[in-house]
């Protein structure tokens, strides 16, 4: 298998990696970099468990060729916990019982983060749209939607007091 160098920004840090030509970002994150926050579910775009943020928009790492990330900025779940503190989305998911088995959680949180980065005051329908590509087999979605709305409120509060 041909190895190809790829230089990109991962969770705010410059990253240089050799990846297998034609391999996915998901494989690079999990198998090469040991970042297991990004989950591997269906490998066909349907479950959303592998969602990451690339240059500000939510994308499916299972369908993204690693080589095409050259020069781009990738955020995974691991990038949310700067200085060890949980991100308000993580806190709200935990407190609102929005994670049961937890398999969908990283994808849900990144889908939600990319919504809140663009739209700090989303409606319930905006939140439903934001996670419409993410499947959860456990929670019934309501706790997830509520947690995202709670986190949005907290982030707005934090911004105001800053």
């Amino acid at each position: 298998m041909t190895k190809v160098p790829v230089q990109f920004t991962l969770n705010g840090r410059e990253q240089n990696e050799f990846v297998d030509s034609g391999s996915t970002l998901l494989a690079a994150l999990r198998d090469k970099l040991g970042l297991y926050g990004t989950k591997a579910g269906c490998h066909q775009g349907t479950c959303g468990a592998c969602t990451v943020i690339i240059d500000g928009s939510p994308q499916l790492s299972c369908l993204t060729l690693a080589e095409r990330c050259a020069g781009k900025s990738v955020t995974t779940l691991e990038g949310l916990t700067g200085n060890g503190a949980l991100h308000p989305l993580q806190q709200a998911f935990m407190e609102g019982f929005a994670a049961q088995c937890g398999f969908c959680t990283p994808g849900m949180i990144l889908a939600a983060k990319s919504l809140l980065d663009r739209n700090p005051s989303p409606s319930r329908d905006d939140v439903i749209d934001a996670i419409s590509g993410n499947i959860c087999r456990c929670t019934g979605y309501d706790p997830i939607i509520n947690a995202i709305l709670t986190a949005a409120e907290q982030l707005r509060g934090a911004r105001k007091s800053a």
Partner: protein
Amino acid sequence: MSVTLLAARQARAVPALQAKGGIVVAGGTLAVADLNHGQGPGTLIIVDGLGLGRIEIKGRKVILGAMVTMAQIAHDRRLKFLHPVSQSIGGPAVRAMATIGGNLFAPAPYGDMAVALLALDAEVALHDGKALRKLPLENFLKQRGKYEKSLVVSVSFAMPEANSFRYVKAVRRKPVSASLVTIAAVLPRKAGKVKDARIAFGAMGPCALRARKSERALEGKALDASAIKEAADLAADGTAPADDAYATGWYRRQIAPIHLQRLLGA
């Protein structure tokens, strides 16, 4: 499996690579999924550097580069009438990746944007390695297997008259899922009468198709209950939709007239 990625530097170089068995990866939402299942070819052609990701609007003419994504359309205020279409395709991550060019090749029940573009009477510009050619989208779709070894460069159409474009996609799971039936219609009117209506169906055959019988039933008529009923009754005529995980072909033929009737009556 060993895979090579080739970054194309010129549109005209792509068909030669395709002829050698390479495939273009645009958004990759279908192509990379195939690759993950071991079905991909050995050569992937990356066309990111060809400047195909632009939306151009000159007067009433709209040109969508083949690499324009559904999310780009959803964020372009000038294309508000297409927002319900882009919004109906996958979740936000799929929309951020899925391109116009890829949508023209998407097998049923996918290809919702192609349905809208067909109703808009769009033209496809493609490079066959020798020259840039233009052809009506309808001809392209009817023989799209033949164009798999060409690079789609852009799709263009005239902005429809205000309030003349309508769209509906029937799905089993809200807010988004694959189509049971998709309908796009452009209904221009002159002195209250329909003139040159164009109606396109998705998921009613292997690719998007025009509902000519229904179009003719509306021609020269006011959009009243009897004209709408006549057009709706003809909707499924001659169609052979597939059975898939979402619906049977039989079911699609039952619901197509109902959704057309509602869309025209809206």
